[in-house]
Symmetry: C2
Subunit: 226 residues, 2 copies
């Protein structure tokens, strides 16, 4: 397959493919003559993965590059790859530490203990959770933090489902790729489902049963996100 066909199949413009090759996101084609190269279905697959992570997952090209290189390097332990993926999912925030962040970290640690989760409270995920808590408080919506346990309870079966899906993979590269895709695109999938569920819950509470629900008139119309 030449670059034009690869472009047609993947929907990615030729100059963009060249650009990805230059950036090291996509291996160069096999040269058959000084200015002719051939690409295979592996290139196509890789290209689709890049676009999925970029468009739907919202990762930067730099983050995608790191993830892909980690996926490809067989010496890289699997958990390293996941660390990279996890770290790059959220942009590096790093605002001033301060006591608020310390408190939030403490709360994250308490949550983990409360739920008996075996996870590092100070890893990237714990850290970004702490940052979300701080942001909520700073924005004057600290009350939202009370939902942490409800959210955590919902996250458990999701994580189990993800693990189950990943567990069915055998080849290392497949497995790692599954985890990355699951982590990144799964987030987008859940987000969309959550918004759909909002619309339903809202319709159920404010719409269906006749008399308005807990929020009274003010909340009328919390629908239509579906």
């Amino acid at each position: 397959m030449r670059i034009g066909e690869l472009s047609n199949r993947s929907g990615v413009p030729v100059p963009t493919i060249k650009f990805y090759v230059r950036e090291g996101l996509l291996p160069a084609g096999q040269l058959t003559s000084p200015n002719q190269a051939s690409y295979d279905s592996g290139h196509e697959r890789r290209l689709r993965l890049i676009r999925a992570l970029l468009d739907v997952g919202g990762l930067s090209l730099a983050a995608i590059g790191e993830v892909l290189r980690a996926i490809e390097d067989p010496a890289q332990p699997v958990h390293e790859v996941l660390g990279v993926a996890a770290k790059r999912l959220t942009p590096p925030q790093r605002d001033e530490p301060g006591p608020e962040l310390e408190d939030a970290r403490e709360e994250v640690a308490e949550l983990l203990e409360r739920r008996g989760w075996r996870a590092e409270a100070h890893g990237p995920a714990g850290e970004s959770l702490a940052e979300v808590i701080v942001a909520l408080r700073r924005a004057g919506h600290g009350g939202f933090v009370e939902l942490l346990d409800d959210y955590a309870a919902a996250a458990e079966p999701v994580a189990r489902a993800d693990l189950d899906y990943v567990g069915r993979r055998v080849a290392r590269e497949d497995l790692v790729e599954s985890v990355v895709v699951g982590t990144v695109l799964g987030e987008a999938m859940f987000g969309a489902l959550r918004r759909l569920a909002h619309a339903d819950a809202s319709a159920r509470v404010y719409d269906g049963d006749g008399a308005g629900g807990p929020g009274g008139d003010a909340a009328e119309g919390y629908v239509g996100q579906g």
Copy 2:
């Protein structure tokens, strides 16, 4: 309060505050003389909201502007505001329609029916779910779509918790802001929790019980994201 103090309190540089005012994200201060203005706690709160939506929520300034203007306009029905927030949460994708997207839309509609959700299958949330499904398939991970029902089941209690939190608000502006914050920051919160839960589930399966789990050696090390 003058702009310097507002800057100190919020952690946002003075030129950036000026920039937000120019962009219409933040109302100008009350002029006390031709080149002196005073800002109040409302400005501070608004500023914190902007930074939360920007840094943690990952919204663009343009999207934040739309949301804020919708929040402020009392004529705007609440569900319109939510529509704006929901629409802007995911960047406008719009790739070629094609039959894959049609199939995915159909699946979304079926999911809604299966779960008895009262939500518009073709609204922004349904549409972005369909796009995620297409992206998963295109990336060669169509199997992940099998988890849709598990994800949907987990989204239900989350949506109920969100609604419950929002339902406690009375004032319109408070309510709308809660919904926006909950939708945007709640997504980040769940994402972090999900990654923590991954680490736990992985530790539980591959680490704790001695002999390796379903994935065998290949999956060793799906930990450390916490």
